[in-house]
């Protein structure tokens, strides 16, 4: 009897110990690791945006991994598309061909995304765009794999044209780069501007690595527009703005979402940047529903570069993908099916609803103006209150 008692207690302690050890090390045992991919321009002229996106996606993964309720442990593989279509197709293929990867958040550069959507479709890899704005990425195909959390340049330019016409400007000259990105912006802006009664005096296509714009700007100076509309990315925008000043062109410098970066000020210095106008889908991070949370977590994580304009979208896209995996499991087909049903899905950028092309129907576009070395939301700026004036206004 004594021995039986001993055995019983032994068994009990053993059970208790096992239970305790299971509880203590539980998550490591119980959770499978799920691989997801991130692609963006991590090197090259627009790498500041790419790194901000990568960090934001990484942050989303870290937060999820710290969440005891998450069913899986996530691992993110970040690849560099260098903002070059040929490189983009290579890394997209590498990612899609890896069966361990169940979903991806990819691309800031539209030209790259246009080249890679076919790859994702071929491999059946669900991919959510976090930054590229060319409409055709979602609307130019019938691929269920492709979704996008940020808005397109259609919304952006509609708002831009309306906003600038409301400011009382009448004539524009356009400089756009000759990639899909620049040409697309030019097309939609021209369309909405002319519908609203604005006039385009001249449009100039330039290569995306051009250094000297004196010849184009000399002609623009002759045309004497109220506004110079620039459709391209930051490095080029910095040069155009710089050289406008050299030639004594006083017109307003209106950019597209591609110049909404801190690098714009680093390249120009505050004085020349002052009064530049640009537009961006969504609202600034601090004004987003979950913006304060995002920014404070980003700060805490201690990344060495800013999230930049599209960081919140990369964060939202990554969270959405992980939500999908939590819901239906790490299976490419099931995730694609899940994405088709996303409606009013909560995210830090506001509710996400995909239309039948996987395009988030967010229509919120925010105008920004460069004021004292940073991008300020127009409504909050001294330009809106009248304390400062855009060029050409009394």
């Amino acid at each position: 009897m004594n021995s039986r008692f001993v055995r019983k207690t032994q068994r009990l302690t053993l059970a208790a110990a096992t239970a305790a050890s299971l509880l203590a090390t539980g998550p490591a045992f119980a959770k499978d690791t799920v691989h997801i991919g991130f692609i963006g321009p991590l090197t090259g002229g627009v790498s500041s945006i790419g790194l901000g996106g990568r960090n934001s996606a990484d942050l989303a993964v870290k937060l999820r991994n710290a969440d005891p309720n998450a069913k899986y442990t996530y691992e993110i593989e970040a690849l560099d598309d260098e903002c070059k279509p040929n490189v983009g197709v290579q890394v997209a293929t590498k990612l899609a061909a890896n069966r361990k990867v169940v979903g991806a958040i990819a691309h800031y550069c539209s030209a790259v995304a246009m080249g890679t959507v076919d790859v994702y479709h071929k491999f059946g890899l669900p991919m959510t765009v976090w930054g590229a704005v060319l409409p055709d990425i979602t609307y130019g195909n019938e691929y269920g794999e492709i979704t996008r959390v940020n808005g397109t340049m259609i919304n952006q330019n509609e708002t831009a044209a309306k906003f600038m016409l409301e400011q009382g400007y009448k004539t524009w000259a356009v400089i756009h780069d000759t990639t899909d990105y620049g040409k697309g912006h030019n097309t939609y802006f021209t369309k909405y501007l002319e519908e609203g009664g604005g006039k385009i005096l001249g449009a100039f296509g330039v290569t995306s690595d051009q250094q000297d714009f004196t010849a184009e700007l000399t002609q623009i100076k002759q045309l004497n527009p109220d506004v110079v509309y620039f459709a391209g990315l930051t490095p080029l925008g910095v040069r155009v703005r710089q050289q406008m000043d050299k030639l004594g062109i006083k017109a307003v410098f209106q950019g597209v979402s591609g110049i909404k970066s801190d690098a714009y000020f680093e390249g120009l210095g505050g004085e020349l940047a002052e009064g530049s106008v640009t537009f961006l889908e969504g609202a600034p991070a601090e004004k987003l529903p979950g913006g304060a949370f995002f920014l404070s977590e980003y700060e805490k994580a201690g990344y060495d570069s800013a999230p930049e304009a599209y960081g919140p979208f990369a964060f939202a896209a990554t969270s959405l993908l992980m939500d999908a995996i939590e819901e239906v499991g790490p299976d490419r087909k099931k995730i694609v099916a899940y994405m088709a049903t996303v409606k009013d899905h909560e995210s830090i950028t506001g509710p996400i609803t995909f239309d039948d092309h996987g395009q988030n129907t967010v229509a919120l576009i925010t105008p920004y103006v460069a004021q004292s070395g940073q991008w300020v939301v127009w409504e909050d700026s001294e330009y809106a209150s009248g304390a400062r004036k855009l060029p050409g206004k009394q």
Binding site: G44, D212, A215, R239, E266, L268
Partner: protein
């Protein structure tokens, strides 16, 4: 087209031409002396410009803010640094390959250029973003009926042309110039005449690279913006200019530089189609010129090299 507009284009062409000529001179010097093409020339130029920019940051931090003092120090530092880099490349990469096929030199310098470019992009703080280069020259300007003549542009062009003239005088009037010409003409004989071959080659590469650094700083001062990729196109254009003018001939390089600038301006100003094709136009004409005169407009004469 009115006079003001025409003058603006002309000024732009002269500015670009001076810059291109300064880069082309390097190519032509290297080819003259060693019969090699150093494809890293453009990226060495970029490196020199970033060195100058770093010196400027240092001067600002040290509280030295007189623009003229800054400019002189930047130029000296940048040109000296780049000259040293050019000489080092010659000593450790180009000369050891002297017996190898010329293609190897071309390839190794091409790869070196990429390495320099990527190194600046990755290791220079925030190197992938464009940097705001300070405007150190007076920004006064005169409006001549639609044509804005800027003091800084005038100073840059004058300084650039002055440098080319100085280089020409150096080549033709000094002992070093004589030695460089001697080596260019016949290496063996020059050696037997007691010319220190190694010193002459290194000096040539140093001078050519220093001149390129000047072009880089000029580029920075003119556009007030520098970036890690600036040397790529400048190098290519400088090379084409040197080829068009006649590789190995100093005047050819200058002529080639101005021709290329002229083509670009014409391409964007006068042709009816989009200015996006101005480089296509300029390079197409270069191809045509090369088909017409395979050895360049002012071909290198073996008796009058460099």
């Amino acid at each position: 087209m009115d006079i003001g507009l025409l003058a603006q284009y002309l000024a732009n062409g002269i500015m670009l031409g001076t810059m291109y000529a300064l880069v082309a001179v390097g190519f032509t010097l290297f080819f003259g002396v060693l019969d090699v093409i150093k494809f890293s020339h453009g990226d060495v130029l970029m490196l020199g410009t970033f060195a100058g920019f770093t010196v400027w940051l240092g001067l600002e931090a040290a509280g030295i803010s007189n623009p003229w003092v800054q400019l002189v120090l930047i130029l000296i530092a940048s040109m000296a640094f780049t000259a040293a880099a050019g000489a080092a490349i010659a000593k450790y990469l180009v000369l050891p390959l002297k017996k190898a096929p010329p293609l190897n030199t071309l390839l190794i310098t091409l790869m070196l250029g990429t390495a320099i470019r990527e190194a600046v992009r990755l290791f220079y703080p925030n190197g992938s973003n464009p940097k705001a280069f300070p405007s150190l020259l007076p920004d006064a300007s005169v409006d001549l009926g639609g044509f804005l003549l800027r003091a800084d542009s005038v100073i840059l062009v004058v300084a650039g042309l002055g440098l080319i003239t100085g280089l020409n005088l150096m080549l033709n009037r000094t002992r070093l110039g004589l030695a460089i010409r001697a080596v260019a003409q016949d290496e063996e004989t020059a050696r037997t005449m007691g010319i220190n071959y190694m010193v002459v080659v290194l000096a040539t590469f140093g001078i050519g690279s220093g001149v390129a650094a000047f072009a880089g700083i000029m580029n920075g001062l003119y556009y007030n913006e520098i970036n890690f990729g600036m040397g790529l196109l400048l190098g290519l254009i400088g090379f084409s200019a040197a080829i068009v003018g006649g590789l190995g001939n100093l005047y050819g390089a200058i002529l080639g530089g101005f021709i290329f600038a002229g083509l670009q301006v014409v391409g964007s100003a006068l042709l009816p189609f989009a200015s996006a094709y101005k480089d296509v136009f300029a390079f197409a004409v270069v191809i045509a010129i090369m088909a017409w005169k395979p050895t360049g407009l002012i071909p290198e004469r073996t008796s009058d090299r460099v």
